[in-house]
């Protein structure tokens, strides 16, 4: 790890500015086509990309991203990790929940650059090869899902919760899961799944712990 990498804020800000300043690769600007009024109206997609280093599911990742790229876009569109879902894209529902340095976050609401030099764990990172994590198994056994779309987010929220409270009370589980919407309203079984996983020390036993 070089010096720059150990100073995430400096590096990302400097490279961000550098990217904005020099990284424009033609294309998005339209001389002679748009009136100045329209140019104001459109703010064309920025094509300047900046380098980003982070750890995803235990592996070092170096990518070039547009500064405005969100963490969930990085995961889904650049790294093909589609477990985290975009549902509201406003930090309201939790289907994009991943772990950032051990804490559950809404990845639609964080810029990828803000994850620079940090460690991200996604639902895919809980698996050991094709083998499910005991927490994932608990969600199957307790039927903690219906359509399954919010499930990766629910499981990651549960994972963060169990890291903090390995033996949570029902109230702690509810509080920990309150930021994750399930429109099928599978909530009773989600709580059961988390409690069952805690009972089996799932997070300790699993690969991620």
């Amino acid at each position: 790890m070089n010096k720059e990498d150990s100073e995430p804020k400096n590096i990302s800000r400097r490279k961000f500015l550098k990217g904005v300043g020099t990284g424009v690769i033609g294309g998005a600007v339209l001389p002679g086509v748009l009136t100045s009024e329209e140019k104001k109206k459109t703010s064309p997609p920025h094509q300047g990309k900046v380098p980003l280093s982070l750890k995803v599911n235990g592996k070092a990742v170096r990518v070039l991203v547009e500064p405005r790229t969100t963490l969930v876009q990085l995961l889904r569109d650049h790294l093909n990790l589609t477990g985290a879902k975009v549902t509201c894209n406003h930090g309201e529902c939790g289907t994009c929940t991943v772990l950032l340095n051990g804490k559950a976050v809404y990845s639609c609401h964080i810029l990828a650059l803000d994850a620079a030099n940090k460690e991200v764990i996604t639902i895919e990172g809980l698996l050991a090869g094709e083998k499910l994590h005991p927490l994932q198994e608990a969600f199957i056994e307790q039927d903690g899902l219906q359509c399954g779309y919010c499930t990766p987010g629910q499981i990651m929220a549960a994972y963060a919760l169990l890291l903090k409270h390995p033996k949570p009370t029902t109230e702690q589980v509810k509080e920990g899961m309150a930021g994750n919407l399930c429109r099928c309203s599978t909530y009773p079984n989600i709580v059961k799944s988390v409690m069952a996983a805690a009972e089996k020390n799932a997070v300790k036993k699993g690969k991620g712990g």
């Binding site: 329209e38 889904r76 990790l81 894209n89 895919e124 199957i140 779309y149 429109r183 599978t186 709580v191």
Partner: protein, 770 residues
């Protein structure tokens, strides 16, 4: 076992009697009688698709990514009512990365909304109506392109409120006016006026409910790809065959050239029953640019343009004798269907739930300049049951009778609309079980008498829905030489456990482990036809078809073994895929042995759903009991517990069934207490277009839930004897909560959602009166 024959079949779907000719099994399929002990069907089997869903590898339409894929976004009308005077896409097309733009000017006139409109209609009837669609290298560029499309709108006067829309001088959405069909839908039985005169007590009240929006987590989305003249579409839909047919019609190509795939979907609740405009637009754009095109709506579009549950204003009247006999019921209602044809009727429960000889119904479906309505989990029944069961509580109170006793007094032994008997009805058992479980005797008497500012109350409501299923529905089983099997059916699993019960039924008949069965659904290119995933008809329609197919496979195996072992079929015993001589068990052969001798790689059979019996009505029944706590100082209602007791025929899988009960009930709590689309009447703008402003429940809002099934297999329906559950679980919750709130505070809230402001206002008003 013989193949199929063609018969006439009648069934109910989302408020309509449909008569179809259907291909059904030529011979009766050996039924699983109620007393037949089943090993796998009915057991709490874990979902067979669980791995995909918990591992994050399940591919939803939103996750589909194709090589060289382009992305599309839709330009939507920013006004509640307008007409396009001119549209200029030239500047947008010059934006680098923009690939194509379609509008009403460069696409054929494709009929939409039951021929009342077009895919692109220059007459824009709601804020969010489709104006144009742009494909680009990225979603962001497509969104930028939309800003460069120059549209000149003629702004038209608008109306977003159903009552105002019915006034003579209201802005008109259609030539015929704003009342769909120009007149109300009327239903009469007996003589309601006479019935009211004969009553000892009459109550009359008006109840209102608001527009609710489905808001499934997975946004509506499609990905379209052409290979020459063949089109493949991945779509988040509850009806792959409907989407296939809509695409074939819209693009004027034969159905065989279209393949629609839906493997997993993130919720629908009715909003994904209808083929979406976005799907057809993606296919058009993909053909135009010669590249795959993906289109995904955003949450705002989800709240504007892909359906909702109509609101309702229901004026109800009931008359009863002193002994509790209902003498008459009437229902006058109107509700907004938004900009395009749909029905806002909600009187079905009132027509059929309680025994009453004199009924009058008048319902208006009203067009307004707002997003078009679509079926939403038990269309009409949720709002209708809330109002009806509130009124039933009122009249029971007026004559001083226990509300449950009143309901039992007016128990309907047959379907009063068709005058036919039911194939089965276990509503009395449901009342009994539910009342016991909630502790009905504990309710406050009189209402509002529990001490202190935190008041508790208990209430109930009754559920009726169709959910009997019907033909046509098919399933194909391919039994491999090694004894494993692949089942294919053109239905969808929308989270309800369809994959799992299909595997269970197959495993039960063929006596092979469930791990040896793979199920493929939602693919028009691979699977035989099955109906839409709606109306609570999937399990009752599809499970008998799977049962029929599996029985045919078993019959083939037995017949093969008989030929190989040179024994009569009736001397053979089928056990776990091994067929042996009843007299000499050493003479035996397994699936692999039979297929090898037959020189077959696989045995194939397609089963069909049987016809429903004529002369009977099929319904699901149930009751829910709710206990609430109302804070009379803040007006906040907390639902403490909900008990559901239901007649759903045979339960195929208790694990997934109980889960569906939970979901239906919590969505009911949500409709009762928090969900409402809000439109600013002055501007016509929807104010609730995200998941923060449109309130939906989280884990903190869940009550304690107990669910019971009081029925057994109904073999008059099918060999399997299952009825549906998705909608029954949701229908009576709001009504039960409203009655519980009344029982708690002694004041009736007649408007959903029951928000704190309504509770406080009602309490204040009651105090002023007393």
């Amino acid at each position: 076992m013989a193949g199929q024959k063609i018969i006439k079949s009648k069934f109910f779907l989302e408020d309509d009697f449909l008569e179809t000719l259907a291909e059904v099994p030529a011979e009766e399929v050996g039924a699983w009688k109620p007393d037949k002990k089943l090993k796998i069907v009915g057991a709490p089997v874990s979902r067979v698709d669980g791995y995909d869903k918990v591992s994050g590898t399940a591919q939803y339409t939103f996750d589909v990514s194709l090589p060289n894929m382009a992305f599309a976004k839709t330009l939507r009308c920013p006004h509640p009512h307008a007409r396009i005077k001119s549209i200029d896409i030239s500047k947008a097309l010059k934006l680098p990365g923009v690939l194509a733009i379609i509008t009403h000017e460069n696409t054929p006139k494709i009929p939409w909304y039951y021929n009342t409109s077009y895919l692109f209609d220059p007459h824009l009837r709601y804020l969010g109506d489709e104006v144009a669609c742009a494909a680009a290298e990225s979603e962001e560029i497509a969104a930028e392109a939309l800003k460069l499309i120059n549209v000149e709108y003629e702004i038209l006067p608008f109306v977003t409120d159903a009552k105002k829309a019915m006034e003579p001088n209201a802005p008109k959405l259609y030539e015929e006016g704003n009342i769909r069909g120009g007149k109300p839908s009327v239903y009469k039985r007996g003589d309601a006026e006479k019935g009211f005169k004969e009553a000892d007590a009459v109550v009359e009240d008006t109840f209102t409910t608001r527009v609710a929006v489905h808001n499934p987590t997975e946004v509506h989305c499609s990905a379209a790809n052409w290979d020459g003249d063949r089109l493949t579409v991945w779509d988040s839909t509850q009806a792959v065959f409907n989407v296939r047919d809509a695409l074939a019609r819209s693009l004027n190509i034969p159905a065989n050239k279209v393949r629609v795939i839906k493997k997993y979907m993130g919720g629908g609740f009715g909003s994904k029953l209808a083929p979406g405009k976005y799907t057809v637009m993606a296919a058009f754009l993909a053909r135009k640019i010669g590249r795959p095109v993906k289109i995904a709506l955003d949450r705002k579009e989800m709240n504007l343009a892909v359906g909702n549950r109509p609101d309702s204003v229901q004026k109800l009247k009931a008359g009863a004798k002193k002994d509790g006999t209902l003498t008459a019921l009437s229902h006058h209602s109107y509700g907004t269907v938004g900009s395009h044809p749909y029905g806002a009727g909600c009187s079905w429960p009132l027509r059929t739930v309680y025994q009453c000889d004199n009924v009058y119904v008048e319902e208006y479906s009203v067009y307004t300049n707002a997003g078009p309505a679509r079926p939403m989990r038990a269309p009409g029944h949720v709002q209708g049951t809330f109002a009806m069961d509130s009124l039933i509580d009122e009249i029971a109170g007026k004559i001083g009778m226990d509300p449950l006793e009143f309901r039992l007094k007016n128990y309907a032994e047959k379907d009063q609309v068709s005058n036919l008997p039911y194939t089965s009805k276990r509503l009395k058992e449901a009342y009994k079980k539910g009342a016991e479980a909630i502790g009905w005797h504990r309710r406050s008497q009189p209402a509002g008498s529990s001490p202190g500012p935190m008041k508790r109350g208990i209430g109930m409501a009754t559920q009726i829905w169709w959910g009997g299923g019907a033909p046509p529905a098919y399933a194909t089983i391919r039994l491999n030489r090694d004894g494993s099997a692949h089942v294919m059916a053109g239905t969808q699993d929308i989270g309800t456990g369809t994959y799992t019960f299909i595997a269970q039924v197959t495993a039960e008949v063929l006596e092979i482990p469930i791990e040896k069965i793979t199920v493929t659904l939602g693919d028009t290119g691979r699977c035989p036809y099955c109906p839409v995933s709606g109306g609570s008809l999937t399990a009752p329609s599809v499970s008998p078809a799977v049962h029929h197919a599996a029985q045919q496979i078993k019959a083939k195996l037995i017949s093969g073994a008989a030929a190989i072992l040179e024994l009569p079929e009736d001397q053979l015993l089928y056990q776990k895929g091994v067929i042996s001589d009843k007299k000499d068990p050493s003479k035996k052969i397994d699936i692999t042995g039979i297929l090898r001798k037959m020189q077959e790689q696989e045995l194939i059979a397609t089963g069909a759903r049987n016809a429903n019996p004529t002369g009977y009505t099929i319904n699901t029944f149930g009751a829910q009991f709710a206990e609430v706590e109302v804070d009379t100082e803040t007006g906040r209602v907390k639902v403490l517990k909900v008990v559901a007791a239901n007649d759903i025929g045979r339960v195929l899988n208790w694990k997934t069934a109980e889960n569906q009960f939970h979901g239906g009930i919590i969505q009911g709590v949500s409709f009762a207490l928090m969900e409402q689309r809000v439109i600013d009447q002055a501007t016509g703008k929807v104010l609730t277009t995200n998941m923060h402003d449109y309130k939906m429940p989280t884990v903190m809002d869940m009550p304690e839930i107990e669910a019971y099934v009081v029925s057994e297999a109904d073999n008059m329906i099918s060999s399997v004897g299952a009825k549906g559950l998705g909608e029954p679980a949701h229908i009576p919750t709001a009504g039960a909560i409203a009655n519980a709130v009344y029982n708690a505070i002694g004041v009736r809230i007649k408007s959903l959602p029951i928000t704190p402001d309504k509770v406080l206002t009602a309490l204040q008003k009651a105090r002023r009166v007393s």
